[in-house]
Symmetry: D2
Subunit: 297 residues, 4 copies
């Protein structure tokens, strides 16, 4: 089918290719002239036959907001917008309403798989009405990995459900990565273990902990056995934070995913104000001759 | 080759079968008459040609200790004992020494895969001398999963290294399970998500979080969508505790795996003394007319 | 000075008494006829000379919203409203704006001390303009504990700063209580310790961990040495949740306070869905004869 | 009474002074000639009338071991040794046995209060027989803070109980310090809060979180409002590690104290191997064109 695709970055670029290889006619728009197929969003709208389906694949937040606001202007009643970026699920309702005022439908789609999606397919979690999801189904079907539909695609619920599922997926991802990483650090610290990479490599088959991330860890260690070229500074893109916010809202204890999130925050601090305060306290009671503040104030 | 196998429980029973299907002559000993091939450890020793290889697959702790002590009596110099159970790595040195005094060699083998090992193969992490490991290699080769040797088997280092690697493997496993489980609880708490099982099923292909455990979670939810038949009471078999002890010894921060371990401890408490104390404190300052203990004591 | 006081619950009732004992004329309003001094908020407004100062001491959330909305109607330009409840700091701006439209000033006041405040005085953290804070200063001065002003009172910043400081205060409180409680549980578990209460009592003087909460713990244990009469079910009143939300907003790692919050959530669950999922996973790989879902989906 | 005191460092030096001011005859030994009263442990033994009481106040571990081994040689049956250092409680049994073989008694004493103990008194937790504790009671009575005996001293149980109680005390201390420190960091990050020190100062009186450590934090911030002169690098002296080991042994969930311990470990790492691994994983799936390791291995 015909699809408009807004955003041809790392994800969108690959998706355009996978969709074209799957037989779809994809017209891509991106502000960068070297990758775009049309000069503008208005140009994209012109190039597509109505009723249109336009997939938005841009950074979440203001850029997604602006894109959807702009699309609301250039599209027509009966068109459908799919937000495939990592928008917070609470944004989906607003976007659906904005578009809905113009008679334009909305579906949110969580997309997993990173750079491997081009060849492996993308895990998809979508939210919206049955009708709207059905309309974009040929696109989902090409993007998703081969095999049973239910193993790589879910219509998770109404608008917002797709991004909610993706948010939780990413929260889990934080926990998984941290679990493997903690284990790696311990193995690397233990002199009995002669080759940490070999141990982690050996876990890729037959073990309980085998996984795709675990394979990537073995691969990363093969490329750089002591991670000499890698800094511990670790960004987070929002889903981990939102997951904990949701855990708080639903009163769900989430010690593992929260610990993984906080470790990322800490990794980005040159020095920790918290630990400075702990250190200052130790100095106060443990060592220096200081004037006393009375206990009873 | 010929192998003596001590312990024909859930793991050993399956291993005997896999090894026999792989062409090995396995003589198994177990105290239960209905499964054993020989009436005693002494009988096992008699039935095996020297130099013998005997694989011990019994619960870690006293039963492993007793078994190895007994084997030291009935085996001969030049024999080899493999401990495939979940012994603490610090036990391995003692067992090697005990056997070594009789001229018997020792290899420790961490074995992963659970009940699936019979058909999928077992992930193996072994510790010992090159010579001893080489001697048991035909057995390892049949037990391990098909594919590249390095993907399912590692000679991790000297005696103790195999169980060390397995210990860390299991510590990671605690963290992974908890990460998935926290995510599951949040999904199940969110009304937007219409079918939690379907979401987790959809993660089995193409996503970043896909793994063997994740597939098992999807499967478990298919069998019991609300886990109505399952209690949250969760045992731990030692490796998680030892992992944190090792983290402390090596000064490795391990917030995620520790949180996963503590959650298991908590799951086994009818009521939490810690939370009783927190509750008591809230009562003290928040609400009840109580007689005051002065601040300055 | 003259003060209107809305809300004569556990906190407000005591505060009226302390203020009256301090020489202020307090006119209290509460919907319960047996404690109120006036029949309505309108009656409160009538009873006070202008320019009025009205202190709101009701549960945060809708009741505070309604109270302030109502006060905006019955008060006059030049009056001042102080919100002494545990409102979320983000509410303060809205309340200030609502009142400001009528020319009414607003100060937010975090109040600590619980039931002990009546006799000990209340720790106060306030937010607002210098002028508004100065106007309510005679009230603050009577409510706060005796001693140096700076040791029991702070004008923390503009509107919102008082509740922000109180929120962090309560977040810390969660962590402190949990630290003591964990230590209590360990002491109680150790047979060497013959009398847990006596140990904690002995910490009330001279030790590094001595504190008001620690004294209350010793006191609570004296009253009920095994906390037999106390359930571990522990409520949270919002500030802990908001503290973690703020930590996330500011990217501040907060493992201890988050762990304390999650422990409260967990204490209120009959059984943990997370641990059911962990348990289900253990069953899947460890024990039961189940049909296999293939790894590659 | 007469007391031999071994170790005149930061703690022992002050204790000698407090005891002398309390009317005791203290003969101190320290390898540093400028502070010692006698030239050797043998000299100390000679200088004391039998039956002797000797208080050991040296670093835990090998130095305490050596000191007690040496004392076993120079003391006589009927003498009493008190270990007031921060020995691990599991050492106490060994030390008691070693001394017991010579007919020498042993008491372990946990001592809290740091440099403030000189003037404020030391919180004391002791383990041993009733008879032995009674014998050293005059010393305990002078060291402990004034006020009720039960508020600053506890005979916690048999040998080992004193150090056990002190270990838990210090574990709690880690949690408390971290809770305050996390709150401090959040306050400092929030622009609404105009003066973080003033807020924390205002908590020293009347609030629920007031404590001795909290006063020290206010004091430390007054001396150095941004902790510019303080590094976050934070040592740990063993009790926190042992507390978590004991929690694991007793299956006590201890998320807060463990998080506080791990934060110290992390504070001492230039870069975190764990976070390097997390970062490496993000690179693997998120961004770089890398050759694929197949999932099914």
């Amino acid at each position: 089918m015909q699809l408009g695709l807004v955003g041809l970055g790392k994800m969108g670029f690959n998706m355009r290719q996978r969709l074209r290889e799957g037989g779809h006619e994809v017209i891509g728009y991106d502000p960068r002239p070297d990758v775009t197929d049309v000069p503008s969003l208005a140009g994209l709208a012109e190039a597509l036959a109505t009723p249109r389906v336009v997939w938005v694949m841009v950074p979440s937040g203001p850029i997604t907001d602006d894109t959807i606001t702009e699309l609301a202007k250039v599209l027509n009643p009966g068109d459908l917008v799919v937000d495939g970026g990592n928008s917070k699920y609470t944004e989906d309702g607003k976007h659906a309403e904005l578009l809905g005022e113009k008679g334009i439908s909305f579906v949110d789609a969580g997309v997993s798989g990173g750079i491997w999606g081009l060849t492996e397919g993308y895990g998809l979690m979508v939210g919206g009405s049955d009708e709207d999801v059905a309309r974009a189904m040929p696109i989902f079907d090409t993007l998703r990995p081969p095999g049973d539909l239910a193993d790589g695609f879910v219509h998770a619920g109404p608008v917002g459900a797709g991004h909610y599922a993706k948010m939780v997926h990413n929260g889990i991802e934080y926990g998984l990565m941290m679990a493997y990483a903690e284990g790696y650090e311990l193995l690397a610290a233990e002199p009995l273990i002669k080759d940490t990479q070999a141990v982690i490599q050996a876990w890729t088959n037959g073990t309980v902990v085998r996984s795709w991330l675990q394979q990537l860890l073995a691969k990363a260690l093969k490329e750089d056995p002591s991670f000499d070229a890698i800094s511990g500074y670790t960004e987070d893109s929002g889903e981990g934070r939102w997951t904990i916010e949701e855990a708080i809202r639903h009163r769900v204890p989430m010690p593992v995913i929260a610990a993984a999130l906080f470790a990322r925050f800490a990794s980005r601090q040159e020095d920790s104000p918290t630990m400075k305060a702990v250190s200052a306290l130790r100095n106060q009671f443990g060592g220096h001759a200081v004037k006393r503040v009375s206990v009873s104030g």
